[in-house]
């Protein structure tokens, strides 16, 4: 269980977040939606403990994140960024094994257990065949699946995903949505997903938190929150929200700038 309580943050005198509170119960997928500059990424960094909030706090299973070491946080929460670039020529297996970092001592090498975990998460993300490949040679969608595998190797309980599909083509976006849905179903992984893609969020998330200008506009079950009125309030866009029988989830059809 992740609990975000009264979090506020400003870069210098430029306020980003005001009094943000919500909870992510274990095993849920919560989507964070909001326009550019609404504070979603900042909020994700605060939840991940890489940015201390000015006020308020984040708790993991009742423990304040700020009381934990970087390694202890990393064992509980992993982050999947929009894109990952490596300066050097690591293999896919290298990238996944790096997820074991917070579980190893300062001078400890990965053992058979770590390799078994790496194998398991490669399998779970459908990337086992890519293991010996060089990470830099993969497609965007393959890279993202490998990064998700590394995140699972690090902390199988909770993933924070920051625009995980923003730089992917349509097919790869659907692959990632299917992968995350499957991981949630098979492993009960808790996820917080920042995204601009309302249809991706509708297909994946059971709950949504809508953020505008650093404040929560609405939160609750996807079916209750994803309404034309909220889409309009969030993006100043007139939209239809319809249940698509083929996709079996709500879909948002933008119509015009409101």
């Amino acid at each position: 269980m992740l609990r975000i309580s009264n979090v506020a943050f400003a870069y210098g005198d430029h306020p980003i977040l005001h009094d943000v509170s919500f909870a992510v119960p274990r095993g849920r997928i919560v989507g964070l939606l909001g326009p550019n500059g609404s504070g979603k990424t900042t909020l994700l960094r605060i939840i991940a403990g890489t940015l201390p909030p000015d006020r308020g706090h984040v708790e993991i299973d009742g423990v304040p994140v700020t009381s934990l070491s970087r390694r202890a946080i990393a064992r509980r929460i992993a982050v999947v960024p929009q894109e990952t670039h490596s300066t050097f020529d690591f293999t896919v297996e290298d990238i996944v094994l790096m997820g074991r970092y917070p579980h190893l001592g300062a001078f400890e090498l990965e053992g058979p257990d770590d390799r078994a975990i790496a194998r398991d998460v490669l399998q779970a993300t459908g990337t086992l065949a890519l293991a010996p490949r060089r990470f830099a040679t993969l497609s965007g969608g393959e890279k993202q699946r490998v990064v998700i595998a590394g995140a699972l190797a690090q902390a199988s309980d909770a993933l924070l995903l920051d625009e995980p599909t923003a730089s992917l083509d349509l097919g790869a976006q659907l692959d990632i949505a299917a992968l995350l849905t499957r991981l949630h179903r098979d492993r009960g992984t808790t996820m917080v997903v920042c995204t601009h893609d309302l249809n991706f969020a509708a297909s994946l998330c059971s709950e949504l938190v809508l953020i505008r200008q650093g404040r929560i506009l609405a939160q609750g079950a996807t079916a209750d929150v994803l309404t034309p009125a909220n889409v309009s309030a969030l993006y100043d866009v007139q939209a239809d929200v319809v249940f698509h029988p083929g996709a079996k989830h709500l879909t948002v059809v933008p119509i015009a700038r409101a």
Partner: protein, 326 residues
Amino acid sequence: MTISAFGALLAAVCLLAPLVGSTHISLARAFSRSVPFADNVDAQIFFIARLPRVIGAALVGAGLAAAGVVFQALLRNPLAAPETLGVSIGASVGAVVAITLLPAFSIGGISAVPVASFTGSLGALAIVYGLSAARRRGMSSTVLLLGGVVLTSFLGAILTLIQYLSDFTQTFRTVRWLMGSLDVGSYPPIVAALVPLAIAGVGYAMLPRALDLMSLGPDAAAARGVDVVRAERVALVSASLSTGAAVSLAGPIGFIGIVVPHLVRLMVGADHRLVLPASALFGAAFLIGCDLIARTAFAPLELPVGIVTAMIGGPFFLWLLFRRTR
């Protein structure tokens, strides 16, 4: 396995390099216990005349190569080198000040030049560290690179100014020092250089996995549990100490810090737990080899080793770049 192969290469080079020179000596006689050392000319040439130079080359090569690896990972830039952040030219300014102002000064068998040179490198490090510490969360590698470039050209101007104001003899000594030379004729300078190198070595031992993760970016590293600010400090201080120690021992010797890490990555992959120790060992062996060429190619004339490393390193590096862009 891989590391022991690099270790064996270095051991072989260390043992064989002192045998080569103007006077032929035999390894068996040099290590023979039957002749007292005072009468054993081979042993004297091996241990007194040639071995300090070989050890000096090993320390300088290892220090520069390891610093190159760390700067490349820290700045997430494969073109970074020990010279990039201005530590090397800081050492040069120190040396040139000593050559110009304190030509006859020495402490415990060590002349003022290496001491001033090392002090200069620490001064440059302090400025760079100040730049990085000015940032609240970790450092932007762009800011650090920019600071290093500006510091390098600023210190370069100071270097030129001192040379312009000094007399002919001092200028000649300065130019020779700036060419880089491993003319280490005794053990005290080596022992002195071992102190900062040992401190750097402790830092290097803590770093490899953090460097792997930091090459994915500071946020990605932090999310995986790396204390990024601390790792960056350890990296910056260790790499600067080993660069400073190397430059004060032998002058600024280029290309080792950039060519050796890239060559080693081609051989062992990207994992810094292999790249860092393998680069230190290979850098040591590579510089001993270059120094051997410098001593023998135009014997009895001795080339500055910096010319040899640049002659080998320059074309190699261009080849590497062509290969990357193809």
